[in-house]
Symmetry: C2
Subunit: 384 residues, 2 copies
């Protein structure tokens, strides 16, 4: 039933505090790059992933607004996807389904987010809408303070010390230092992580993804529209699953069940195992979600991810390489745009023209997006 869907173009903006650029500017910059990369195909639909415009910009109808800003997309089917900070990959999956269902031949998927319109505290509060408003936010918990509880639980349960945990941000910053689109392009040491400002004990500033603005776009096409392009990347599988919004309701808070389920489905559909993956981008809002993501994907036994990272696994020389972009931690996390960055990065790695650190001759890639603390998980598997 499902027809094949390809990524035929990608476009990225550098993530930064872009006080002089609005949502439309960011969308246009990323989309024009993606359309140029794709050879200016005719676009049937635009899908926009974004989390914050209703909260920060009083703007619903964002997909239509953005679609009218370019002659290539004006008047076309324009749909918005809102799935907290998983909006980006959810938008890619929406684009995929439009093509696989025959409703469109070519779709522009854009993730766009402005987080710096207001003070960072407000961005954190807005991001925290990914948590349970009645049972978590009401009591003063935030997306970060809940991850602090998870991080403490992980360290206590598995006997992991601060230095071992710090291996993750050290690797992420090292990767980001070579990514021209990353927000934080500097390396850090374990000592710097351990002495950085405490945000929510035990999460320190250098465990946390930054607040930034950015947009990413990819062009998806059906087999016939993809034609004989030699840089088209096939989407081998997509999957989504959900889990409680509220970590208190989870039997085991250290398992990302939605990500585990989505991974199982995606591996089965793509006919692969976790060990077949060459390159992965996953959703590390803070250090702990990065580690739990590795475990949910089956790339590490439970409780071992921090140690494996510390021992040098998941680097650009490993199989798989993980977050060569620098991840949310250091590439940046413009909420609803992040998943489209991930999809674009995996496509570029598989094409062999990623502008930062590359995985060694990768054939199979995966992107994992999470909403909040994993209450939703989206996975895309791509094949060269």
């Amino acid at each position: 039933m499902e027809s094949k869907v390809y990524v035929i173009g990608v476009g990225l903006t550098r993530i930064a505090r872009l006080y002089d650029k609005g949502l439309t500017d960011l969308f246009a910059e990323a989309s024009l790059k993606a359309l140029e990369d794709a050879g200016w195909p005719e676009v049937d639909a635009v899908v926009v992933g974004s989390m914050l415009p209703s909260i920060h910009n009083e703007q619903s109808s964002l997909a239509s607004l953005l679609a009218q800003s370019l002659p290539y997309t004006r008047g076309k089917m324009a749909v918005g996807v809102e799935d907290a900070d998983n909006s980006g990959l959810a938008a890619v999956i929406k684009g995929y389904s439009l093509i696989a269902s025959g409703l469109a031949k070519t779709v522009l998927v854009a993730g766009v987010e402005k987080m710096t319109e207001y003070p960072s505290a407000m961005a954190i509060r807005a991001l925290s809408q990914a948590c349970n408003a009645q049972h978590e936010l009401f009591h003063g918990a935030t997306l970060i303070s809940l991850q602090a509880l998870l991080m403490r639980l992980y360290m206590n349960t598995y006997g992991i010390d601060r230095d071992t945990m710090s291996a993750w941000p050290v690797l992420m910053h090292s990767n980001a230092s070579e990514n021209p689109y990353a927000q934080l392009r500097f390396k850090v040491t374990k000592e710097q992580v351990a002495s950085s400002m405490m945000v929510s004990d035990p999460i320190r500033l250098l465990d946390s993804s930054p607040i930034g603005d950015g947009a990413a776009a990819i062009v998806l096409a059906a087999s016939d529209a993809a034609g004989s392009r030699n840089n088209a990347v096939e989407i081998a599988a997509v999957a989504q699953a959900s889990d409680t919004v509220g970590i208190a309701y989870r039997e085991d808070p250290l398992r990302l069940l939605a990500a585990e389920k989505a991974a199982r489905t995606a591996y089965e559909k793509a006919g692969i195992k976790a060990r077949d993956l060459d390159v992965v981008e996953l959703h590390d809002t803070t250090t702990i979600l990065g580690l739990l993501g590795l475990e949910a994907l089956g790339l590490s036994p439970r409780g071992k991810a921090a140690v494996m990272v510390d021992e040098g696994e998941f680097s650009s020389k490993s199989k798989p390489s993980v977050n060569l972009s620098g991840g949310l931690k250091a590439r940046g996390h413009p909420a609803g745009a992040t998943g489209v960055y991930q999809a674009a990065e995996i496509a570029l790695q598989l094409r062999g023209d990623y502008p930062g650190r590359r995985a060694p001759d990768p054939e199979m890639g995966l992107a994992l997006g999470l909403g909040g603390l994993g209450s939703t998980a989206s996975i895309i598997v791509m094949r060269r």
Copy 2:
């Protein structure tokens, strides 16, 4: 490519000011009814259309939150659709694409909205996010005041008087008086419309849809999952298009271009003409959008819709019958839920068990959803 998709179950709550019910209660009530109506099929995915929870309830991740509230949907793929007050029909189309693409066999689509958490003025402000935040809202315009400009322009351009315009709300209230799920179940006269409170000249209270809470759910299924149910209704076509967010940018503000385009596409896909339609539900936030919707669908020549309504067209004895539910005007308009009500109502009409006024033996039905002032339009065509 597109496989056939059927509506196999529907569930509605009565629209009202339901101060004692939250989003989860409303979702559960409508969804359980729909699942029961469908014979308790196994559900692969949940799609939720909702506009206001990020604004009113500080709750993103709504689809996951709601999916966990029922054993039938827990852990399943859960996706949120945000497309202003067109979210409901956009969610139905998302559900359609999940099935037609082979990503799911059976999908629960729910539209859920709580508008009475705050004073009505805040609901109006929130709804107005469907307009252009920078170029309309910033200057104090609202979704209603912009429709007032359109209504005045329509009346002046075509020489239509207040009494003729009033035929629309009179028909809507008459239809709603027999709809057990409608918010405003009373008839009104032209005199009552003309003397009701002025909201934004020339829009009066009885021209306007009310503020209410509600949820609607439908179960969609692929051919094999729909089986041999004799009450399954086929979705013959879906279509979406976009237009400027900002009426000042339209060459002719009295044309709903997105709706016209979507209608053209939908008619072509379904292999029908406008005159083949037996029953229609369209998006009349206020009187003027109802009339412009009739014209965009090709059910009336331009400038003639008000006169045709006044002459008795579009009633339960006409072909097509329009808004037998009472429309947004009198059935009610719980923003992101409305489109799912419309889809459910059309399915019930075609099944022959609509609980209110019925179209005479209908075979072909259509639902039109608009975002804001028509910056997006979604259309679903169903066949008995």
